[in-house]
Amino acid sequence: MNTVDANLTHRRKKISLNQWILTIVLSLGSFVMIVPFLWMLVTSFDWAARLHINFPPRLWPEEPSIKTFEVAFTSIKMFRYISNSILVSVGVIIVSALSALLSGYALSKLRFKGANIVLLLALSTMMIPFEMTMIPQYLLFSKMGLVDNYLAFYLPALNYAFGTFLAKAFFDQLPTTLREAAILDGAKEVSVFGRVYLPLCTPIIATMVILLFLGVWNDMLWPLLILKKATKYTIQIGLAMFTYNNGIDKQPSIIMAATTVSLIPVVVVYMFLQRYIIESIALSGIKQ
């Protein structure tokens, strides 16, 4: 036995019982997480499941077919809706993240009088359920002539209270001496924010991007209320179209086919930001 083999054997022996248990528990956890996705994928190819979902779930479609995708794509403007969702998400992310970072910076570093009250007021808006404000909000935007206009997403995004709270907490951890030094060197406030602090904010920006993207992508109610023309609909409204009998009955395999396609952008975002997703959960305590 050479030295490398001997080392390997030694390392294998060192794998403790705890590690085995941990591996088994994590494998089970992964299995539980993966099964719904597998079920979605299998159902999306099952023509027989267009009326009733198979239960217990099947490992292989009863009637394998891509007709489910054909129905999904001919029934709604799938690519248009996905593009619309991307447009709305990107806009909201830019507006909300910028607004939260600026307000968080102001509340943390400028220390103006009443900063805590401002933060409290901003946070208190989170206590009112959206269902309470949606109709008045719609009426307001209707009076402003912004129904069927994506500005109705971007303008409310200016008030991202949770982001402000997160950003303030993050800026609180960064040394104030950086600002003082920059100002002594003649930098203006905008430069201090943009050149000194912003480059240090990657984790919190990533956190906000992820939280906002998932929140906006999955939102159904506000887009449904504020958008009128089907050409402007987002993907979640499109997915809701696959019902019949007054919405009581669904078309499982068609919905699953459409959902599978609609998940592609989410998976892409996940793949590129997965390192930050775990950090974002740790930082914000929110898992979407």
């Binding site: 029934s75 109709i135 089907a230 998976v267």
Partner: protein, 459 residues
């Protein structure tokens, strides 16, 4: 791993694009020549719950469908070339919030919606009466619609029954359907044409257990135990003569409640007995996935639509299942039950009333109902729906049931019925299914007290 995932997703996209093929024969007029009807000018905004605007494929049958845009292009646009339509396609999910907002902001003129929503909006003063428009328009004949739902439904008539605010265009199908094969296996006589609750319960009990021929587990009965509108409960109240309340929805605070009468006790006793027969999932509206299909193991389904069977027939043209699943009337004395009606209604502040009326009239016309039936299997509301396929015995039965239909106070238009009675009855069914049904008289006394308190609070 990333590369593999990207590859998989690319395949999925390619597959999706490949799946997008199309084109269909799109004649919607059945050969009828469409002529100009009027030069009337106008701009009408129409909000449609659940309608499909573009051509596509019917998921239930797999057959091509013609979208509303194409239909209107071939018909309405030629008949009324100067009326411009703005169509808003709305999914059923959260439709009430959307259409409420549109009505409140004056962003819509004509709506297709659920009957319960229409009824509530009318009571909130958001909808317009149609009586004057119907009277003025000699080309409109209200008698072509089923009288039971045109003149006697909370979804189309004011709570006191004097005003017309909606024109019915689609019916909900609710009938008793039984599986002839299972009846034969068990040697049980088929259901009679107007099977009452006693007959249904007696026969269902006989067919619960191991099938004597196949050895499979069979269930004698099925209904949705968590129905949002309690339709089976409504049919039972009709069957047992348990009115539940007296008065009018126009004056809800003076409704006299009769929820703990001996007749209502009979209703609950029936539910208690019957709750032992369906598959356990019925309390969550599960367990009847195969009813109407080859693998069915339920003998009788209440408030069933026949949709699965008809879809299978339309996609395969095989009549075997059609012959096997037989519809009969609902449980009321005349075969009536609760009939859902989806109407077209007009907003109180419609911008262009005359043009809106023409649109509403067209969208509820026999021609449109035919189009909706042929493409999306919507059940028509016409007395003479001669376009219904001869094989479609479920729609025919639904029309028979609707013809004798009438609305009582045990209806989704009644706020207390929806907020308290339905959840209470569903809760009772859920407990009865596990053998823990509460004392019926005490349960009903409590419900009666709550109802009286509710009315008193409104005064």
């Amino acid at each position: 791993m990333k590369k593999l995932l990207l590859l998989l997703m690319s395949c999925m996209l390619a597959l999706s694009l490949a799946a997008c093929s199309g084109g269909s024969d799109t004649d919607v007029t059945g050969g009828v020549e469409i002529k100009k009807v009027s030069d009337m000018e106008g701009n009408v905004r129409v909000a449609l719950a659940g309608w499909q605007l573009d051509n596509g494929i019917n998921a239930q049958t797999g057959n091509p469908t013609i979208g509303l845009n194409e239909y209107l292009e071939q018909t309405f646009n030629k008949m009324y070339p100067n009326i411009k339509l703005e169509l808003y396609q709305i999914p059923w999910e959260n439709v009430k919030a959307k259409q409420s907002a549109m009505l409140l902001s004056g962003d819509v003129d004509v709506l297709y919606t659920g009957g319960a929503f229409a009824s509530q909006w009318y009571q909130d003063g958001l909808l317009r009466d149609l009586d004057d428009l119907m009277k003025e328009d000699t080309s409109f004949d209200p008698n072509i619609y089923l009288a039971g739902i045109m003149n006697n439904s909370y979804s189309t008539k004011s709570p006191d029954g004097t005003k017309q605010f909606g024109i019915p265009v689609a019916l909900g199908r609710r009938m008793t359907i039984y599986d002839k094969k299972l009846f034969e296996d068990w040697g049980v006589e088929p259901l009679t044409a107007k099977a009452d609750p006693a007959e249904i319960l007696e026969k269902a009990k006989k067919m619960t257990g191991k099938n004597p021929k196949t050895g499979e587990d069979n269930y004698g009965l099925y209904w949705s135990g968590n129905s949002l509108n309690g339709s089976t409960f409504v049919a039972l109240t009709l069957a047992f003569g348990a009115k539940g309340a007296e008065g009018t929805l126009k004056d809800v605070k003076n409704i006299k409640w009769h929820l703990n009468t001996p007749e209502m006790v009979k209703v609950m006793e029936w539910l208690k007995e019957a709750a032992k027969l369906p598959p356990a999932g019925f309390v969550n509206a599960q367990g009847a996935e195969n009813f109407g299909l080859e693998r069915n193991n339920i003998a009788i389904a209440l408030d069933s639509t026949g949709g699965s069977t008809m879809s299978e027939y339309l996609s395969s043209q095989n009549k075997e299942l059609l012959d096997r699943f037989e519809p009969v009337m609902n449980m009321g004395p005349k075969g009536e039950g609760w009939v859902a009606v989806d109407p077209f209604v007009m907003a109180k502040n419609a911008k262009d009333v005359k043009a809106s009326w023409e649109v509403l009239k067209f969208l509820t016309s026999p021609m449109t109902q035919r189009y909706m039936y042929e493409n999306f299997a919507l059940t028509p509301t016409l007395k003479n729906a001669d376009f219904v396929s001869p094989e479609d015995k479920y729609v025919k039965k639904a029309l028979e049931i609707a013809e004798v239909g009438h609305s009582e106070l045990m209806d989704e238009a009644n706020p207390f019925y929806m907020s308290d009675i339905v959840p209470a009855v569903n809760g009772f069914i859920s407990k009865a299914a596990t053998g823990n049904a509460p004392d019926i008289q005490a349960f009903l006394d409590d419900l009666q007290q709550r109802a009286e308190k509710w009315s008193a609070n409104l005064k």
